[in-house]
């Protein structure tokens, strides 16, 4: 192993940290958390405004903060944290210095400057075009420029990740194939390149349009290419948080994937097919053919879904295999009962896995089916779905891994460990409520992105069913709970960095007292004797099939064919 720059070995975990990579991981993660706090606060205000009786924001503020919430919570927080994951998965796990750290810092600052510019433009009030910024709605030119600058920064960071892989290969810091967690991060990086390229293709002409150099942007052309960026950016999240699931299983349990080849294959499905799922946002557009829609969603997307189901089986399977090896063999679920539920690293990750599969995964397939998509297209069902994938899936996973990373990176003990134990539960229950109640309201026809759910200002009045208003109220209560959980997370993280008890420093040259975690090595658990996991998988499949056909039945009733 060749180490050219300053580095250290963590005395507790045995993890290798290159000095520059460590600083970049810290700065990217902390910056991400700041934007999570801002975006999360706006999210609570969204939920309270949708609550019919509370309706806290006036219309102009609702659309303004909805734009900022989407950008900060869906893009800025997550991409900053993903940069931290990419540097961790390359430099730390491959035990090599970060390639081109100066470029990585340039990428960081561009991302920060871009995010600040876009936020300022939105908060000034003349760019309330929402996250999707569909033409003919026009934002301030600096709104688009900010996103472009942010994306260029993220692209630079992504190429530093690729450079670090090359460096590790040259310096032979690992043997054979990349470790699985790094391979998952590679999947995220590949999808990021396509995402950012798509963003450039559509946002550069949109910037020129906002400046008056281009007369017209075709809305359908914009939507098609924009979603190659908008949806694929969420596929970066999926790949990154699935990688982190494997990382946490390895760190907490010393678990190895049931079959590394199968897990790798599942990531390959993501690389090939996951980005094509962007088409499900366009399933009701008359200008695109059914062939295009069905190939991209009902053929290609299902292979990506297969990838997710494989991960959904192999991650808990690897934990079960590791737990059974330790002697937790009683019955089907002793391995799960005896898991460290008081450790937020595990509890957050496992709840994220369950909610991502049951709430986000199943509903994603429903929305990706051309026929049944029409029932809930552009209703609150859509944000209900993606709060299950992005918030319960990605954000909760990133919170969970932060409980491991922040004390390791900052060499401090966790601040308020008692609160940390509960934080993941508070947040997970809140987010599950947001997701379920928004989907329930959407199923009753409540429109997304609509400030006035009473239609009080409408020329032609309309009443949603009373149950829809009840679900919106429950969504508001869940939003408050998720806000409490999110704020607790930010307080614990900031408190740990500033006031956490300092751990004793061990010189970098000293040998690591702890064994190196399993994340450095390729290899499988060597068993598929995981009956508990297979039972859980069958419950999942049963739920999936039942819910899928319930929606077809519902469609038949909508069309009065029954």
């Amino acid at each position: 192993m060749s180490i050219l720059s300053k580095s250290r070995i963590c005395p507790e975990t045995g993890l290798f940290f290159d000095d520059q990579a460590e600083k970049l991981i810290k700065w990217n993660a902390v910056t991400g958390v700041v934007f999570l706090l801002v975006g999360g606060l706006f999210g609570v205000l969204m939920a309270l405004t949708r609550w019919t009786e509370v309706h806290i924001l006036p219309a102009d503020w609702f659309y303004l903060l909805l734009t900022a919430h989407g950008l900060d919570a869906l893009i800025v927080w997550i991409i900053f944290f993903e940069m931290a994951v990419l540097y961790l998965a390359s430099s730390t796990l491959l035990k090599v210095r970060l390639a081109a750290p100066k470029w990585a810092w340039l990428g960081y600052w561009l991302m920060l400057i871009g995010a600040v510019i876009t936020n300022v433009m939105v908060l000034e009030g003349d760019s309330s075009v929402m996250f999707t910024s569909y033409p003919p709605m026009k934002a301030h030119p600096l709104f688009y420029l900010g996103i472009i600058v942010f994306a260029v920064g993220a692209l630079i960071g992504t190429f530093c990740f690729f450079g670090t892989l090359v460096l590790a290969k040259e310096q032979k810091t690992y043997e054979g194939s990349l470790p699985l967690v790094t391979f998952g991060a590679l999947t995220a990086a590949i999808i990021a390149v396509f995402t950012i390229a798509s963003g450039a293709i559509i946002l550069v002409p949109t910037l020129l349009w906002s400046l008056g150099y281009i007369a017209h942007i075709d809305p359908l052309m914009y939507k098609t290419i924009w979603w190659a960026m908008g949806h694929s950016s969420q596929q970066i999240n999926v790949s990154a948080h699935v990688s982190v699931w494997y990382l946490i299983a390895a760190i907490v349990f010393g678990a190895k994937p049931l079959s590394e080849k199968v897990s790798r294959m599942a990531f390959l499905f993501y690389i090939f097919f996951l980005q094509l799922a962007s088409a499900h946002h366009l399933l009701v557009e008359p200008g695109l053919s059914s062939e295009w829609k069905i190939f991209n969603t009902s053929y290609a997307m299902y292979l990506a879904v297969l990838g997710s189901m494989i991960h959904g089986l192999t991650v808990p399977g690897s934990i079960e295999a590791a737990q059974r090896k330790k002697g937790f063999n009683k019955g089907l679920f002793e391995w799960l009962r005896r898991a460290p539920w008081g450790n937020p690293v595990f509890s957050g990750m496992f709840m994220s896995l369950v909610m991502f599969g049951f709430l986000g995964g199943i509903t994603g397939v429903i929305m990706g089916t051309e026929q049944i998509n029409i029932i809930m297209h552009n209703t609150l069902y859509v944000p209900g779905h993606f709060h299950a994938t992005v918030v319960a899936g990605t954000t909760l996973t990133f919170m969970a891994v932060s409980y491991f990373l922040v004390p390791v990176l900052f060499r401090r003990e966790l601040w308020l460990p008692g609160l940390a134990k509960w934080q993941t539960y508070i947040y997970a229950i809140g987010v599950a409520g947001i997701s379920v109640f928004m989907m329930a309201a959407g199923t009753l026809g409540v429109s997304r992105r609509h400030w006035d759910n009473n239609f009080a200002d409408a020329t032609l009045g309309f009443d949603y069913p009373a149950a829809a208003h009840m679900f919106l109220a429950l969504n508001g209560i869940s939003g408050l709970m998720a806000g409490l959980g999110g704020a607790s997370f930010c307080i614990i993280m900031v408190g740990t960095i500033l006031w956490g008890k300092k751990k004793s420093d061990v010189p970098a040259s000293a040998p690591a007292p702890a064994p190196e975690p399993a994340v450095h090595q390729a290899g499988s658990a060597g068993t598929i004797a995981v009956p508990g996991t297979f039972v859980l998988a069958l419950i999942f499949l049963g739920t999936f099939i039942l819910y899928y056909y319930v929606n077809w039945k519902y469609l038949a009733e909508v069309w009065h064919l029954s």
Binding site: F194, T224, R264, I271, L276, L288
Partner: protein, 57 residues
């Protein structure tokens, strides 16, 4: 040693299957991961939109 082979500890050459080599090549995966959605999603979609006839009044 060819690009398809690796040395084993006893000096013999171990054949690495094509699929394995593809999985171990980040830049080939990057190429595939960009080309697939560009062709099937963007180019195909843009061609369909571009060939929509202009409405006549």
């Amino acid at each position: 040693m060819t690009s398809q082979d690796n040395n084993t500890p006893d000096g013999e050459h171990e054949h690495i299957p094509f699929f394995q080599r593809m999985m171990d090549n980040p830049f080939l995966l990057l190429f595939i991961g960009v080309v697939m959605p560009t062709v099937f999603y963007i180019l195909w979609g843009v061609m369909e939109i571009a060939t929509i006839p202009i409405a006549t009044y």
